[in-house]
């Protein structure tokens, strides 16, 4: 598989979204913002990813598969930027476009695992599942999720805490609820109860959503 340029990936992405989410099988050159005879288009055609006529372009079966991967990477990148790196606004899309390009296969699955195999991107669009997502259900691989997602008896290590005020962060920290702390979930109702060392702490959903944990197996 040849490596694609950023612009080509963007074309594939746009075609995939049109086809799979807007039910439009083809897209005009005008909408894509490219010339009929441009380098990008001819290269994609040569790779057998698209077919074209005088006005529009559409995906081949191979192209559809490839497009799905690009979309997956883009949306994972968005998710990573919003959930973990805490980027907001217009920057999300622009940075995601650049970032997706660097997420190679393998790394992409690791990011997906880190994020807990999310189903949707921050805009609410579906993230096409990768091979890692199906694997996870069986293996219960380690990944980073908010503490509120953990089930009774699950163990993990706090990775980071985000989304609460500095003052609250400081009080949590002074109680020993800090990155690196090993936790075990003891109750999830009526609020969250977990142990660190030989101590127990109760927190509500807001806090449990803010504390991100890498799940560990026994």
């Amino acid at each position: 598989m040849t490596e694609l340029k950023e612009k080509q990936e963007e074309i594939l992405e746009q075609l995939w979204v049109s086809k799979n989410e807007k039910n439009k099988l083809s897209v005009t050159y005008e909408v894509l913002g490219v010339q009929k005879n441009s380098e990008e288009i001819s290269l994609l055609e040569k790779e057998g990813l698209i077919e074209k006529d005088d006005e529009k372009v559409w995906l081949t079966e191979d192209g559809n598969k490839r497009g799905e991967k690009v979309v997956r990477r883009h949306r994972l990148a968005e998710k990573l930027l919003v959930d973990v790196i805490d980027v907001s606004g217009k920057e999300i899309h622009d940075t995601a476009c650049k970032l997706e390009h660097f997420l190679k296969e393998g790394i992409e699955d690791k990011v997906c695992t880190l994020l807990g195999h999310p189903k949707t991107c921050p805009h609410g669009n579906r993230i096409p599942p990768g091979s890692c997502c199906n694997l996870d259900v069986k293996v219960g691989d380690k990944y980073v999720v908010p503490l509120s997602n953990l089930k009774f008896g699950q163990k993990g290590k706090i990775v980071f805490i985000s989304g609460i005020s500095d003052k609250n962060l400081q009080s949590l920290a002074s109680m020993g609820i800090l990155p690196g702390a090993k936790i075990v979930v003891k109750q999830t109702f009526p609020s969250y109860l977990f142990g660190i060392g030989n101590s127990e702490f109760a927190v509500d959903k807001t806090v449990a959503d803010a504390v991100y944990v890498r799940i560990e197996k026994d």
Binding site: S174, M175, A202
Partner: protein, 652 residues
């Protein structure tokens, strides 16, 4: 002349500080409230060899940067109390979580002794700690202790009278960038009013500690403030997160590193099975709730209500006051005092002795004593945080968090005290909601006791009364959540294991609270008698009664009930006690009794609570709350009248 040594016991909550305090001091103890707070701390003095050692048990704290009121008090005692030693008490089982505070205490520059407490529990769990190595790593003496068995006490006392210069305390090192800023800040803090190190002051300035910032500002040392601002910004640019976080993280890392070096898990032991079982089941998602119900039922209803307000009140009121004390006093006063007005002031229907003192001692004292006993047991057993955990979800619906259980449950003892304790809640919004609910729908123990005594032989009335109050509690709370603006609040709390409370601790706590209560209450009871006396002589009393009785007739209440409301203005329990008296005389039918009980429970808080509400919430908010409460209680009374008497037309 004996040499005096001043010692502070400092540590996280629930590490057995009080037990160590008791073991060190025996029973010569004074409990005081820290000035301007509800926070209690205990003080004791002992003679040991040639020394007088004064020991102060500080409230639990997690870090030197205070968040709660308790932590503020503890820190004040450290930085302003000028102690010779800090005895840092830690739970040996949780060494890694406790050491970060130890590092901060070491940074104060005050000599620190580390006491590894609860070594017996640690041993049972198979934990062994190399205290010699730990002492080397920290540069401070380390002692193993089991406070409740008085193990390790002699060693601590001997250390306290030893030479403090023998140890070289080791500060932990932060990253170089931070250390150099700390150094530069320390250099410009020239005169040091505190006995704590410049290093710690610098660290706290970097963490934007309000108290030190305002202090330097008031001294006009803007250079220090500006310098710390620049340093902080510089460091935050480097680390990209709040400095608090960086400090906490580093301390935790080093704590874990040290713990790894000194702690060995030799076998897999377990804490006592029974305690484990109780600890677990009291917060269980299903069983926690019936247990909660039983605790409140037996604690509040059976113990405070039936035993305190029933049996004890009966005994003191009838056997002691009415049959013995009062007749003798009355005869004595009749003989010695001739002036009829004075007699009226002392021994007639509303007299200081016959009404004020009788109410305070015969009716109120037994009830609040039993309540405070119950509350101290809840506190010392570790049940309160569990209650908070179980109720957090429900309390969120009324704009509060689980933390509000402490003032709200305390309100069942004394609403005035509870209003003061609302300070411990996190946000202004929570404090306002809790104050409203305390003013309106939480009857204090005296009131509760009297209401239970009045209503308990009619279970229908009692059930309706409870039902109406619960409904009102949640409806008012629910609407407050939407109409009172404020930030969203979060809930987190440490859940200690269940412990069996120590009787001596319970007694000391109950006693302190009773003293506070009576200082607050007794004068008011006497003033009330005096006011009523003046009112009666001048005719103002009757005028007020007529004014109050006017709206009451529309609610189907007899003229006499006006008295209760007038009394109730002095103290809620005073009014309730008036209800109790009139009820015994058979003035009311059941419909009236129910409406009155509900209205009186909802009605204006007593003067003391009113003053406290204004003190805590400000004049404007205080007046809002009180006006709301008055209007609301009359409306509810009228509504009940409509439903029971007019629409349903039933006799209960």
């Amino acid at each position: 002349m004996k040499n005096k040594i001043k010692v502070l016991l400092v540590g996280n909550p629930n590490v057995g500080k009080s037990a160590l305090f008791n073991a060190l001091t025996g029973k010569y103890v004074t409990v005081s409230n820290y000035p301007g707070t509800t926070v209690e701390y205990t003080e004791g003095e002992i003679s040991y060899k040639d020394y007088t050692i004064k020991i102060i048990d500080t409230p639990g704290m997690y870090s030197m940067l205070p968040i709660s009121e308790e932590e503020k008090v503890a820190r004040d005692l450290i930085i302003k109390g000028n102690p010779d030693w800090i005895v840092n008490v830690v739970d040996a089982k949780n060494l890694d979580r406790m050491l970060p505070l130890t590092f901060q205490l070491i940074d104060t520059g005050i000599p620190v002794i580390l006491v590894l407490n609860m070594m017996d529990e640690a041993k049972r769990m198979g934990i062994e700690i190399d205290s010699v190595k730990l002492s080397e790593l920290l540069g401070i003496p380390v002692i193993k202790a089991v406070s409740i068995k008085k193990e390790g006490i002699k060693e601590i006392l001997n250390l306290l009278i030893s030479d403090r210069g023998l140890y070289r305390q080791k500060s932990i090192n932060f990253d170089n960038e931070i250390e150099s800023e700390i150094q530069r800040l320390s250099d410009i803090i020239n005169n040091n009013d505190f006995k704590i190190s410049k290093r710690l002051i610098s660290i706290m300035l970097l963490q934007k500690d309000v108290e030190f910032l305002t202090l330097f500002e008031s001294e006009g040392k803007n250079d220090i403030i500006n310098f710390s601002d620049i340093s902080r910004r510089k460091l935050e640019e480097i680390f990209r997160v709040s400095l608090d976080y960086i400090f906490a993280l580093k301390r935790q890392l080093i704590a874990e590193e040290i713990t790894r070096k000194v702690l060995k898990k030799v076998s897999i032991g377990e804490e006592s099975r029974f305690i484990n079982f109780i600890s677990g089941i009291t917060i269980h998602k299903v069983w926690g709730y019936p247990i909660l119900f039983f605790v409140l039922y037996f604690g509040l209803y059976k113990f405070v209500g039936e035993f305190g307000a029933g049996i004890l009140v009966d005994f003191i009121e009838t056997n002691i006051f009415e049959e013995n004390l009062l007749p003798k006093l009355i005869v004595l006063i009749e003989k010695t005092i001739k002036n009829e007005y004075l007699k009226e002031l002392l021994i007639r229907d509303y007299g200081i002795i016959t009404l004020g003192i009788k109410y305070a001692i015969a009716i109120i004292l037994p009830i609040v004593t039993t309540f405070f006993l119950f509350f101290s047991i809840l506190e010392d057993s570790g049940y309160l945080p569990r209650l908070a955990f179980l109720l957090d979800r429900i309390f969120k619906k009324i704009g509060l968090t689980g933390k509000a259980v402490i003032p709200l449950v305390l309100g069942f003892g004394c609403d005035t005290m509870a209003t003061m304790v609302t300070r411990t809640l996190n946000t202004k919004k929570e404090r306002i909601i809790a104050t409203i609910l305390l003013s309106l729908a939480v009857p204090c123990s005296a009131q509760l006791g009297v209401m239970l005594a009045v209503l308990s032989n009619n279970s229908v009335l009692l059930s309706i009364w409870i039902f109406v109050l619960i409904i009102i509690f949640f409806i008012v709370g629910y609407f407050s959540k939407f109409y009172i603006k404020g930030e969203k609040t979060i809930f987190f709390v440490e859940i200690p294991p269940i412990r069996i409370p120590k009787l001596s601790n319970i007694i000391v706590k109950t006693y302190t609270r009773l003293v506070w209560y009576f200082k607050e209450v007794m004068p008011l009871f006497i003033y009330a008698s005096i006011f009523i006396w003046i009112g009666r002589i001048t005719g103002v009393f009757d005028l007020f009664l007529t004014i109050i009785a006017f709206p009451l007739q529309y609610i189907g209440l007899p003229y006499e009930s006006a008295k209760i409301f007038l009394f109730g203005f002095f103290r809620r329990d005073y009014g309730a006690a008036g209800l109790y008296d009139l009820h015994k005389q058979g003035v009311f039918n059941n419909n009236q009794l129910l409406i009155l009980s509900v209205m009186l429970t909802l009605f204006l808080p007593c003067i003391a609570q009113f003053i406290m509400t204004i003190k805590e919430r400000g004049l404007k908010m205080g007046l809002y709350i009180v006006s709301f409460v008055i209007v609301f209680s009359v409306l509810v009374g009228y509504l009940l009248h409509l439903i029971i008497n007019v629409i349903l037309g039933i006799t209960l």
